[in-house]
C-alpha cells in the first residue's frame, strides 16, 4: 500500500466512523477537533482501522495517537513490518 492509499483509506474510515462524509481532516486533526471523538469512540475507530488495514496496534499506540498524522505513521510502520 502506498502512503497516499493509507491516507485515503484512513480518511474514509474516520468519516464513516463519525458519520460525516464531509469531515475536514488533515494530519494535524486531533480527537478534540471532531465532534463525538472521545476515548470510547476512539476504541471503535481503532478496531475499524485495524480491521481495514489488517494490523494490530499496541496499547501505547492506541493511547498515544495525538493526531491523524501519528495514526498514518503507526499504520505505515505496521504495514512495513508485515511486508
Amino acid at each position: 500500500m502506498k502512503p497516499t492509499d493509507t491516507w485515503d483509506t484512513l480518511v474514509a474510515v474516520i468519516r464513516e466512523t463519525f458519520g460525516d462524509d464531509t469531515l475536514a481532516i488533515d494530519s494535524d486533526t486531533k480527537a478534540a477537533d471532531v465532534p463525538g471523538w472521545d476515548s470510547v469512540a476512539h476504541v471503535g475507530l481503532m478496531i475499524e482501522v485495524e480491521g481495514r488495514f489488517g494490523i494490530r496496534f499496541t496499547t501505547g499506540e492506541v493511547a498515544g495517537m495525538n493526531n491523524v498524522g501519528d495514526m498514518v505513521e503507526f499504520i505505515n510502520r505496521h504495514l512495513q513490518s508485515k511486508a
Partner: protein, 617 residues
C-alpha cells in the same frame, strides 16, 4: 447482503427489512453487525417499530456499554420487538440503583442489564488466602450485588439480568489453581455459584461464564481496549454476547418454542424400522452410530424433563413406528414422553398442523427435526412459522445443532412446565370424552371441573408473570409486564387481581388464567385478562367474570371498563366483552375497541365449574 441490496434497489422495503432481520439474527462477526447497523439506519424511515411490542432495557455496568447498544437495538428489533434502550453510563450502577429518581429510574425500564467484567475487580484477596478467607470474600462480593439488586428492585421497579463472571485467560498458578481457594478463577467460580444460589426471583442470570468458555476465554477480552476505554470484551466477542443477551430478553417477553416434533427413522435411531425391523436398528452402546442417536435421545429427554412437549411425526405404519418404543431397551424415550404420535403416510405439514391443533399451540411454538431435507423443505415452504432445524447428515451433530439455536431457552421453569406433557396427555383423554358426549354441556358436566380463584399471591407470581408475557391468543391487551410490576399490582390497594387454577377428573391444568384491573372511585378498568389456550371453551372466562362482578360489587364499583387491543393472534377474544354483556363505547382513533358494563345489569353466567379452596387432584 446481496439480496438486501437488491430489495433496497427495488425499493421493496418490507423485503429489505425482512432480509435485514434474517441477516442480523445469523450474524456472528463484528463487521457484519456494524454493516447491518448502517443498513438499519438507512431503512429506519421505512420500519414501523410501533407495530411491535415495546421493551425498555436499561444497560448498567462496571464497564463501557456504548458499543453494545446499537447491536442490542438491532437484534431486539430483529427478534420482533420495539427496543428502547437507556445507557446509564460507565460504572454508575450503584448510583443509578440506590438513588430514587435516578435517570434509570425515570426511564422506567422493564429490565435492567448489569454488564459485569471480572477485569473491573480491584480487591482480589491474595492467592494464599485460606478457604475461609476466600469464602468470605465471595460472600461479600455477592452481598454487594444483592444489595444493588434490592435497591434497583425498590427504586427502579424492574427485573434484572446480571452477567455471570467469565473466567480470566491468565493462569499464573497453572494446574494448581483449582486447589487454591484464593486463585482468581477459583473465586470467580465461587461468585457465580453463590450468586445463582442467592439471587432473588426477579434476577435472571446471563451465563457469560459459559458463553466465554464456548467462544474461547482467550479471545473473549481485548486487554488493550479494556485499558484504553474499559471495553468489557473484544469486538468479536460482543456479537455472541449481544446475540445471547437479545435472546435472553426475548425469552422473558415472548413465548419460546414449546414443542419439538421429531421424525423417527434416521432421526431418533439409525435405520428404517419398516425395512430393518426393530432388531436391525442402530441405537445404544456397542455401535458408534447407535451411540450418537442415543446421545440425541438423551438431549431430547433433558428438554422434556423441563417441560418441552415432544411429538412424533413419521412416515411409517403406526404399529412399526411404536414397536421400538415398546421393544427396544436402549430407547431413552417412552411413548408416555410423547404428547402426540403421528405415524402415517400423510404429508408432514398436515400432520404438524394436526399436532398443533391437538395440543392447542401455535405453529410458531413448534420446532421440527427431520434428517430428510425434502421433508424439511416441504414443511418450511408450507408452514413458514414452524422452526425447522437443518441437521447435518451426522447424528453426532444433532444435539449440538439443536442446542445452539437457543429456541427452547426459557428464563425459568415453573411447576406447570415440568407437568406439561402429562397435562397434554390429559387433554387427549378429554378429547375422547368429548367425542362420547353429543352435547357440549353434558361433556362439561362429566369433566367434574373444580377451580380455585384468588387474588395474586407471592407463591404464584412467577407463573402469573410467565402467563402475562407468553399468552398470545386469549389475551385482551397483550400488554407485557415485568415480574416486579406484577408484584406491585399484587400489593397495591388500587388493584383487584385474580388468578384461576382449574382441575378436572383427568388432572390438574394448573394456573391458567390471570386478570387484574384498576379501581378509581366507582370505576374499574380492566388492564389484563388472559388465559392459557389449554382450557378454551370450558367456562373459565364466565366463571372469572362472575367473580370479578362479585368482587367489584363489594368494593362499590358501578362500572367496569375493558379494552380489546387486536393483534394478529388474539382474534379469538374480539367478542369476549359483548358476549359477557358489555356495551361498546365510542370507538377511539386506533384499532382497539372499548367496552363498558353497568354492574347492576350484569347477570351471572351459568358455568359447570365448582369453585373450591384447594384443587383435589
Amino acid at each position: 447482503m446481496q439480496e438486501l441490496q437488491s430489495a433496497w434497489d427495488a425499493e421493496d422495503w418490507p423485503a429489505a427489512l425482512q432480509r435485514l432481520q434474517h441477516l442480523a439474527l445469523g450474524a456472528t462477526d463484528h463487521r457484519t453487525m456494524a454493516s447491518l447497523g448502517r443498513w438499519a439506519r438507512r431503512l429506519a424511515e421505512h420500519d414501523h417499530p410501533e407495530e411491535r411490542t415495546e421493551v425498555r432495557v436499561a444497560l448498567l455496568g462496571n464497564a463501557t456499554t456504548t458499543f453494545l447498544t446499537p447491536h442490542l437495538k438491532l437484534l431486539l428489533s430483529a427478534q420482533g420487538f420495539k427496543p428502547v434502550i437507556h445507557e446509564a453510563g460507565y460504572d454508575t450502577t450503584a448510583w443509578e440503583c440506590l438513588q430514587p429518581g435516578s435517570d434509570t429510574a425515570s426511564f422506567a425500564p422493564q429490565v435492567a442489564v448489569m454488564v459485569r467484567s471480572p477485569l473491573a475487580v480491584k480487591d482480589w484477596p491474595a492467592v494464599t488466602a485460606t478457604l475461609e478467607e476466600a469464602q468470605a470474600w465471595v460472600q461479600a462480593y455477592v452481598d454487594q450485588l444483592l444489595s444493588l439488586f434490592e435497591a434497583a428492585h425498590a427504586n427502579i421497579g424492574c427485573d434484572i439480568i446480571v452477567d455471570t463472571l467469565h473466567a480470566l485467560p491468565l493462569r499464573p498458578h497453572g494446574h494448581l489453581a483449582p486447589r487454591l481457594p484464593g486463585d482468581r478463577n477459583t473465586l470467580i467460580r465461587g461468585v457465580n455459584h453463590n450468586l445463582a444460589d442467592r439471587a432473588p426471583e426477579y434476577v435472571f442470570l446471563h451465563d457469560v461464564e459459559a458463553l466465554a468458555a464456548d467462544n474461547g476465554v482467550r479471545r473473549w477480552t481485548d486487554e488493550r481496549m479494556w485499558f484504553q476505554a474499559k471495553q468489557p470484551m473484544s469486538f468479536e466477542s460482543m456479537v455472541p454476547y449481544v446475540q445471547s443477551l437479545a435472546r435472553h430478553i426475548a425469552s422473558m417477553f415472548r413465548e419460546s418454542a414449546k414443542c419439538l416434533v421429531l421424525d423417527l427413522d434416521n432421526t431418533m435411531w439409525g435405520g428404517v424400522v419398516g425395512d430393518d425391523g426393530v432388531a436391525g436398528l442402530s441405537l445404544g452402546p456397542g455401535d458408534p452410530v447407535g451411540e450418537a442417536f442415543s446421545a440425541f435421545q438423551d438431549y431430547v429427554a433433558q428438554l422434556k424433563e423441563r417441560g418441552v412437549i415432544l411429538a412424533v411425526c413419521s412416515k411409517n405404519e403406526d404399529a412399526n413406528a411404536r414397536a421400538p418404543f415398546k421393544e427396544l431397551s436402549t430407547m431413552s424415550l417412552t411413548l408416555e414422553d410423547l404428547a402426540s404420535f403421528k405415524a402415517n403416510w400423510d404429508p408432514k405439514p398436515d400432520n404438524i398442523r394436526a399436532i398443533a391443533e391437538e395440543l392447542n399451540i401455535g405453529l410458531d411454538a413448534m420446532v421440527f427435526v427431520d434428517d430428510n431435507p425434502a421433508e424439511r423443505s416441504l414443511v418450511e415452504q408450507t408452514l413458514p412459522s414452524v422452526r425447522v432445524l437443518h441437521v447435518s447428515d451426522d447424528p453426532a451433530d444433532y444435539p449440538g445443532m439443536l442446542d445452539r439455536t437457543g429456541w427452547f431457552d426459557t428464563p425459568r421453569i415453573s411447576s406447570e412446565d415440568a407437568a406439561r406433557t402429562r397435562q397434554y396427555q390429559d387433554n387427549t383423554q378429554r378429547e375422547h370424552l368429548r367425542e362420547q358426549h353429543t352435547d357440549y354441556e353434558g361433556y362439561l358436566r362429566s369433566l367434574q371441573q373444580e377451580a380455585v380463584i384468588r387474588p395474586f399471591e407471592e407463591l404464584h407470581i412467577d407463573r402469573i408473570t410467565q402467563l402475562i408475557n407468553k399468552t398470545n391468543q386469549f389475551n385482551l391487551t397483550t400488554k407485557r409486564q415485568s415480574r416486579s410490576k406484577v408484584e406491585e399490582r399484587m400489593r397495591s390497594d388500587a388493584y383487584l387481581t385474580a388468578y384461576v387454577r382449574l382441575a378436572d377428573r383427568f388432572g390438574d391444568n394448573g394456573l391458567i388464567s390471570v386478570w387484574y384491573g384498576n379501581c378509581e372511585g366507582t370505576r374499574l378498568t380492566i388492564e389484563q385478562w388472559l388465559m392459557s389456550c389449554r382450557v378454551f371453551n370450558r367456562g373459565v372466562e364466565q366463571l372469572l367474570m362472575n367473580y370479578i362482578a362479585e368482587q367489584a360489587g363489594r368494593r362499590g364499583i358501578t362500572e367496569i371498563h375493558g379494552t380489546y387491543v387486536p393483534t394478529p393472534k388474539n382474534g379469538l377474544v374480539a367478542n369476549l366483552y359483548p358476549s359477557l354483556g358489555f356495551q361498546p363505547v365510542d370507538k377511539t382513533d386506533n384499532d382497539s375497541t372499548e367496552w363498558v358494563l353497568a354492574l347492576d345489569r350484569y347477570e351471572p353466567r351459568n358455568v359447570f365449574i365448582e369453585t373450591v379452596d384447594e384443587c383435589q387432584t
